[in-house]
Every structure is written in C-alpha cells, then in structure tokens.
C-alpha cells in the first residue's frame, strides 16, 4: 500500500525525488509545491503528525510529517528555508490544523509564513519580550539572560456590539488550577467566545534538551506532563530507539503497555474527578479522589513511584517486574474499577449533574476533523483517532481492544468515553499479564548519530516526538508534539455561546493539560 502511494506520488510530482524507507516516504520538496502537496494529503484524510523546524548554521529547514487515519505509513516533506529571507508559504489556509504549529515556529525560529491569518504573541508574550527573539535558534545560548522589554498588550477583540467586554480569567485563578489566561468575550449574561492565552508555563523544554544526552532528555519527556509520564516517555523512547536502531525486547514492550494502561486508568480517573468537582458534586468528587488515590498507590507499590517516573529507559525498562506483582496490580485495579461502576451509574441517574454536562461544549465531528483533535476528546466527537489502533506500536499489534466512540461531542459524551476507556485499559492489562513473554527487559544501547520520529497514544491522545542526536548521543534537536497542544487549538470551538457558570465544566470535560501544551 505504501509502495502504491509512492508510485502515485511519483506520477503526480515527477521532479521530486520520493524515497521509501520501510514505512516512511520522504522527499525534499521545493516550497512552491508545499501547498499543493498538503492539499493532496489532507484531501485524503491524512493528518499532520508534527512540523519540525531545525536550524544548523546556514542550513534552515522545516519538516512536515503526515500520517493517515489508516495503517499506511508516514510521509515526510522536507523544505529548505532561505536563511536570509526566512519565508515559507503557510499551510493554515489548506488545513487549519497547521495554524498553531506555524505560529510556534514563527515565534521561536523567526520564520515567517506568508498568508497566515495571525502571527505573533503566541509562545513568547508580547507584553514581556521583544519581537523576533528567535529563541530556538542556535545563536541564543542556553544560559542567555534575555532582557525583558515590556510593551503594551491588549487582548484581541472580535465582538464590537455595544456593552461587549472581555473578562479575563487567570493566569492565577481557582483552587489548584494550572496557570493559563482565558479571555471571555461577553455582552452580559452569556459568553460568546473564549480564547485561551497559554505558555505562561513555558519552560523551553525543546531548547534545554539540546546538549543533553538521550538518557537525560527522557527525564524531560516524562516531566513535560507529570500526569502522563509513560505516554510521552514511550513516544520519546521509541523515537530514540528508532534513531539508534535498537530493538526493544518483547517483554519490555508488553510491560510498557501494561504501565501505559495503568497510567491511562489513573489519568481518566483524575479527569472524571475534575468533571465531578466542576459541577460541585462533592460526594462524587470525594469518591473519585479516593479511587484515584487507590490507583496512585497501586502504581507506587508496583513501580516505586506514584506517577511512574523512572520506569522507562532507552532500550527497555529500568527494572523487571515479576508476574505476581503484575497480577496483583491488575487485580487491585479491577477492584477499584468495580467501585467506579456504581459511581458511573449514580452519575448517569443524577439529573442535576446531567443537566450541567449535557449539550455543553459541543464539538462537531467536522470541527474535530478540521482541527485534528486527538484522544478521548476526538473520540467523543466521532473521530476514531487512536494511535494504538491507527499506527500500532510496541505490544499493541497483538492486543485486542475496542476504541470507544461517541457521536454527540458534548461534555457527557466525553465523560462516557472516559469510563468506557477505563474498562478497555483494564482489559488490556489482564491480557498482558495472561500472556507475558519471557526474557530480558533492557537492550544494549550503542550510541551513534541518527534522527527519527516516535509516537504513542498518551492518555489524552497522540503524542509525537522527533529526536536528532549526534555520535555521542547528545540531542541536537528534540521536538515534542503532545496531545494537549493539538486539543487546546480546538478549545475555542467548544467554548462558543455558553453561560458563565458553565465555563469550569466545559474546561474540565475537555481533559486538557496546560503543562503539556506549554512544555
């Protein structure tokens, strides 16, 4: 199928040198063909995997990765950028999903995208920094003390009606919420639209990863979002392993899947707890907190860390687990899930609860496809985007599971998807324990230069990582595209015309992590 596609591409664009390497079709393309090619792929339901900019001396280039919603490999388009003009055609008019990628690259690499509807003030905030800092460019040193240049900044307003105003919420708000600013545009009672302003928590993970070894960057991958350390960590490890040509032992792959599903269980429990909390249903919140704590303790007992840090290693795992421990963990998790079931039923019968989450924050299937939303968020809108099924990796090709799908796209549909996925995760855990391969859990790591893409299905969706390292295993470029970055892009679709008091509820049902987006 991949071979057919290459032949087809060769007939459409004969001047371009299309190469096929395993599952990856790659080509160096001229900027003038970029839009036509992107149009071709998006018309056939291919999605943007990630867009990676790289600068090394006078060599400036941007790579576009596409993958299809069915198993048909990856496409990499590499476009050279003139180091002096630094201009590329924007793909945002072809697919809106490219929007935030381009804004980020413009902000951090000072590459302009022609015909992009809105550039500037994205990662680096205008009221604090000068324009065109080019933070990710090699000329900015890791320990540089970048001077702040305070400028005036006003939120962009769309509403021009009389009495319309913007109500800011954040960046410091509510009890234990993550830092982000929300600009709620309103004419009084109802919010017409809500625009998030993120990156207050920008830690420049991609920048500080440069110069660290592939082993140490794993710590950054785990901690970009501490609540899905395995999800993002596995994607990073697989990128490095592909770049270095390491084969991960089958036992390690199975155990990685086991830990990933345990994490998914806990992550979804956290999301359910937050939905209960947002509707002020305190009994349900307390019970969900208790179940979440039980799952944290199961993780702690099994791996020595409640959030499963320090489990993964390049080439496998840091330690082996005996079968009994895994059986106990799966059994205990099953016990917790048996307690979740009555909670689910109680919530489904509580009309006061349903009134608040039904028909709020609706995202249509069309919007979910346009914005290339991922994870449970997309699945609640009828888009079966699950990397475990679409681009199977590790132990998943041999594991049977269902991908839950709901059509309504509202808060309640998202809640149902979370409950459903928890049951599937437990099913996968039991299947892994029942059929656990023997052998070692770590491979020898021989360092050499390389570059590769790795992906996984993190609890909140597809996580796609790109790594390039030199002969000593020092990372030259690390690009992570976590699921929340994709999903925050679709946030404003879910927040159109709603009542003020529904804002925390919409936010909770969307299952978004600020830390993961901000990196």
């Amino acid at each position: 199928m991949v071979a057919e596609l290459v032949n087809h591409l060769r007939t459409i664009w004969p001047e371009t040198d299309w190469r096929l390497d395993g599952e990856l079709i790659s080509a160096e393309v001229e900027a003038r063909y970029l839009r036509a090619m992107a149009k071709y792929f998006t018309a056939q339901q291919w999605r943007i995997g990630t867009i990676v900019a790289r600068e090394n001396g006078r060599d400036v280039h941007v790579r576009y990765f596409f993958y299809a919603t069915k198993h048909s490999g990856w496409v990499e388009l590499r476009v050279d950028v003139n180091a002096i003009d630094r201009v590329l055609p924007s793909l945002t008019n072809v697919t809106i999903a490219a929007d935030w990628f381009e804004r980020e690259i413009e902000d951090l690499f000072s590459i302009r995208f022609t015909e992009h509807p809105r550039l500037g003030d994205f990662v680096l905030h205008n009221e604090q920094w000068a324009e065109n800092l080019g933070l990710m460019r090699p000329r900015v040193r890791l320990d540089a003390d970048i001077p702040e240049r305070p400028r005036e900044w006003h939120p962009k307003r769309v509403l021009e009606e009389q009495g319309a105003f913007v109500m800011p919420v954040g960046p410091v708000y509510s009890g234990d919420a993550e830092s982000a600013l929300f600009l709620l545009e309103t004419v009084g009672e109802d919010v017409v639209r809500a625009v998030p302003r993120l990156f207050y928590k920008y830690r420049a993970i991609e920048k500080i990863a440069e110069g660290r070894t592939v082993h140490d960057v794993l710590l950054l991958a785990e901690r970009c979002n501490g609540t899905s350390a395995i999800g993002n960590g596995v994607a990073y490890c697989q990128a490095v392993e592909r770049a270095l040509g390491i084969t991960v032992p089958v036992r390690a792959q199975s155990l990685r899947a086991f830990f990933a599903e345990l994490e998914r269980l806990r992550h979804h429990m956290t999301s359910i707890r937050q939905i209960c909390a947002s509707t002020a249903l305190q009994v349900a919140e307390s019970q969900a907190l208790w179940m979440e704590e039980r799952l944290l303790r199961i993780s702690g007992d099994l791996a020595g860390h409640r959030y499963l840090f320090g489990v993964l290693a390049i080439g496998g795992l840091m330690f082996d687990c005996d079968r009994q421990m895994l059986e106990d963990a799966a059994y205990d998790a099953g016990n917790v899930l048996r307690k979740v079931e009555p909670l689910r039923k109680a919530l489904e019968n509580a009309s006061s609860f349903l009134d608040r989450i039904e028909r709020v924050g609706i995202v249509s299937e069309e919007s979910a496809r346009d914005f290339e939303i991922v994870g449970p968020f997309a699945r609640a809108s009828g888009v079966a985007a699950d990397m475990r099924a679409v681009q199977p990796y590790g132990a998943y090709p041999s594991i049977e599971f269902d991908v839950p799908i709901e059509a309504q796209g509202d808060g309640y549909a998202r809640l149902r998807v979370l409950f459903w996925e928890m049951a599937q995760s437990l099913r996968i855990m039991h299947a892994i324990v029942a059929d656990l391969p023997q052998g070692s859990v770590a491979s020898e790591v021989a360092l050499h230069s390389g570059e590769a893409l790795g992906w996984s299905e993190a609890p909140s969706g597809a996580s796609i990582h790109w790594v390039e390292c030199d002969a000593q295993g020092v990372v030259l470029r690390y690009r992570l595209t976590p699921p929340s970055f994709r999903n925050w892009h679709g946030f404003h679709v879910a927040t159109e015309d709603f009542a003020f008091q529904d804002f925390p509820i919409v936010l909770a049902t969307l299952d978004l992590s600020v830390a993961e987006n901000d990196r």
């Binding site: 710590l219 702690g300 409640r306 992590s513 830390a515």
Partner: protein
C-alpha cells in the same frame, strides 16, 4: 440531591491516621535517596556520575545527597545503590530567608493559596489529593483558598518560569502579613531539571522569599501536609 447525601453519609469515614515521622510504604511515597557509605571512593563517584541533576556529591567513599536537587529518576536506586529513606518529614527551612513558624493563632486555622509557576501537573495532583477523603486536610484546620488576599501561606509549585514571574510576585504582594511561602517540589526548590535556564529560574527562592522547602518529584501528600503543619506551628522540629 437526596441520593448523593445518603451516599455520602452511608460511605462512612475513610480518613487515615497521619503517619507521624515513621516509615511509609512505596504506595504512599517514593521515598528519597540518602547519604550512603560505599566500600571505595570509586563506587561513590560512580553514583555521583549517575545522577543527572548533580544531587549526589562524592566525598571520599561517602555519597551525599542534596534533597533539593533530586528529581527521583531512580537511577541511583538498586541493590548496590544509594540507601533510601521512607519517612515523610521532608520539609526543611530554606536558609537565610526563612522566618519563624506563624504565630499560634494560625495553628488551628490556616488558609493556603496554591500557585502554579510552571508545574508539570504531578505536584498539583498531589495537592488535590491532600483535600481528598483519605488525607482530609480540613481536619487539621488547613483550607485551600481561591485568593491570595485571604491566604496565610503561598504554596508554590513549578520552577518559576519567566512568563509566570510577574503573576507570582503580584500574588505574593497581595497577601496580608504575616505570610509564609512554601516551595513544593524539587522544581520550586532548585529549578529541578528545568532550571536555571533561559526561560525558568533556579527555584522560586530567586523570585520571592521562601520559608520552607519540600523536596521530591513530586512530594507525596503526607510530606506536604507535614510541611504545612510545620509552618503553622502544629508540630515543631529542630532545624536541620
């Protein structure tokens, strides 16, 4: 609503006793590495090189651990590795900027505001757990408040990113006196694996004065509760 009330009441009390200064299980806390004597200086140096954040220093055959830098990567753990402590009394004074614990009036009613200055999410999750039925922060008279104007203690998580710096300082200035600041987690303590760098500080002590530091990545709820009891004078500990 009646059903929820009945569900809540019939569930009974789930709150667990505080563990005091004894050891706790892996389920409650990952523990921390601690100063270890090795047979040879080479072994101690080997541990120091294994540590990605310079938390372990070898002096002779002893490998000392700086808690405030340990990100719990577990690379020094193992049969031949560092010794591990499993207590939860992790909180310690922050040095020169530390003030005395709050006056006794606060021991029975303490209001806490949480500020996220670049946290990865795990510290915030542990802070949320603190309010859960098992830990039940309320029984100690400690409450999370939504505004710094009502807060006696600022709990800061995250390494203090450049873009959160203004918000952090504004929140701190909005608090009434007397006030205390607790840096929760290794990022807030020393920058962790993120700082100091061009976009984050080397611990929030560089931005606002810190009184108490709780290391850990993340510190478990019991360790944070222990630190909060320390800061409001419910328990006393000889300064380390």
């Amino acid at each position: 609503m009646k059903n929820w009330f009945v569900r809540g009441v019939t569930a009974g009390i789930w709150t667990e006793a505080l563990p005091g200064s004894g050891n706790v299980s892996n389920a409650l806390s990952p523990g921390l590495p601690t100063t270890t004597e090795y047979a040879t200086p080479e072994l101690a140096r080997e541990m120091a090189t294994r540590c990605p954040t310079d938390a372990i220093h070898a002096s002779g055959a002893t490998a000392e651990v700086d808690d405030d830098r340990c990100v719990l990567c577990m690379r020094c753990k193992g049969r031949d590795g560092q010794k591990w402590r499993h207590d939860i009394t992790w909180g310690h004074t922050a040095g020169a900027s530390s003030q005395e614990p709050l006056p006794s009036a606060f021991a029975s009613s303490l209001h806490v505001r949480i500020i996220d200055a670049g946290d990865c999410g795990s510290c915030l999750n542990e802070l949320a757990q603190m309010n859960g039925p098992l830990y039940n922060l309320h029984r100690l008279g400690i409450f999370v408040t939504p505004t710094p104007r009502q807060a006696d203690v600022l709990l800061v998580v995250g390494p203090g990113t450049r873009q959160m710096r203004d918000a952090l300082v504004t929140s701190y200035n909005a608090m009434p006196e007397p006030k205390r600041v607790v840096a929760v987690g290794v990022c807030a303590a020393s920058g962790g694996i993120f700082g100091p760098s061009l976009m984050s500080s080397g611990g929030i002590g560089e931005i606002i004065p810190v009184d108490l530091v709780v290391p850990g990545c993340p510190p478990p709820p019991h360790a944070i509760i222990d630190a909060l009891r320390l800061v409001c004078g419910q328990i006393k500990r000889v300064a380390q």
